[in-house]
Symmetry: C2
């Protein structure tokens, strides 16, 4: 097998979704972390539930709906300007520090993003971070109106790049996305942003288990869904080594 | 419109899923609440993810997989006898205190359960709690291999009872299930087990936000999915009043 294309998840893999905490905490001091975690948890729940219900709306709408849920649950009021400013934080996420160097090392592969993000969100995100100059394609699941891990979302890679699944390395830090991509038939590298040992320490070390720890317990570990990654690495910079380990 | 059948969700609506905390805390003292919340959160996530992936396994397996995920994340070991004992806690959940009296008030309707639970789990649960003598039908989504809120799950009600959706009152405390049932076309009553005011107090009152509060913040409130219940009540005993308010 020869890998021809490397396709990245965006939110949580190239871009740090926790970066929205700067905006949420500025808007509601002391509650930024709680808002950030509930918001992100509900944002993905809503993609899954709408997928099952057959009630797709784009990720911009899902992001706003889940923010509205979060603020409402906390009893917080935001006027429309503040609400927009918080919601738009997803358009200016920071790249993980190693992302640009890592993509540079992989420039001899075809490089793309496949993301739940709506085309307008992804355009803004990729342009704001300069990745538009590095990536061949930024693919939104919106073209299929099907969120990951629905196989129809992953089909877009072959449709857009012309590369069959067995020649694609899919890269994600999101457990559900790792399982979905592997179930679909890609080679998959999992980026482990939170180690099991560190998380266990937070969960059982006697410290308070707050929203951020609950988020990490729910969404950063390997899912027990029966589809494991081919490689688990702790940085995007380890991708060349992982690819060599596949015998490529 | 005349309501002919009242169909109940099981887990969280007639039966208290938090009752498993007795078993989890006996198994791992001091960590029962954390286990209970992560387990329940992942259990439903796995139904949604498997639905989207097209990788159905029954709810007994999902319940065991999500328990395995939870114990693994916490770094806890359970031998197979202990693991079975914890997993089987879902077969002996307590009814909410008002459930039997409430069902008695509604005996002139056709009464059923529609649940994600596998047939073996539901058989045990309904028999252990005596509801087998009250309910006409206990319907498992397993017949369609599709978890709620997939419309195929809700189709089972008409297929089994012969009652069209507009003549069904669906009752659930689970926000995703309320939205799914309403999207499908039922009349829907939402049981509010946690009030927004009480939850806001827990989230913003300065107290520690622990796993149970995060669970309540994520799974007990009205979802922002665009499909609201026809009535929200705080007890199953209020169903006759709710039905009268529909003009029935």
């Amino acid at each position: 097998m020869t890998i021809k294309a490397i396709v990245f998840d965006a939110y949580g893999t190239l871009y740090d979704v926790q970066a929205v905490a700067r905006v949420t905490d500025a808007a509601f001091p002391g509650q930024g972390d709680t808002i950030t975690q509930i918001w992100r948890l509900k944002q993905l729940e809503y993609t899954w539930l709408r997928g099952l219900m057959g009630r797709y709306v784009d990720f911009r709408t899902v992001t706003r709906d889940s923010l509205g849920y979060t603020l409402g649950t906390l009893g917080l009021d935001a006027d429309s300007a503040l609400f927009d400013r918080i919601a738009d934080a997803y358009n200016t996420l920071s790249l993980y520090p190693e992302a640009v160097e890592a993509l540079g090392q992989l420039a001899h592969y075809r490089l793309a993003i496949l993301s739940n993000g709506s085309p307008d969100m992804l355009d803004a995100l990729v342009r704001n971070s300069g990745l538009d100059r590095i990536l061949e394609a930024v693919i939104s699941v919106d073209a299929k109106k099907a969120y990951k891990p629905d196989p129809r979302a992953y089909e877009l890679i072959e449709e857009r790049l012309g590369v069959p699944p067995r020649e694609v390395l899919f890269v994600s830090s999101n457990g559900f996305d790792v399982a979905g991509a592997k179930s679909f038939g890609f080679k998959v590298a999992r980026i482990e942003r939170v180690t099991p040992a560190a998380l266990r320490q937070d969960l059982t070390g006697g410290a308070r288990i707050g929203p951020a720890t609950m988020f990490r317990a729910l969404r950063t570990q390997t899912e027990a869904l029966g589809f494991a990654a081919d490689a688990t690495i702790n940085s995007l910079l380890a991708l060349p080594d992982a690819i060599r380990s596949f015998g490529d």
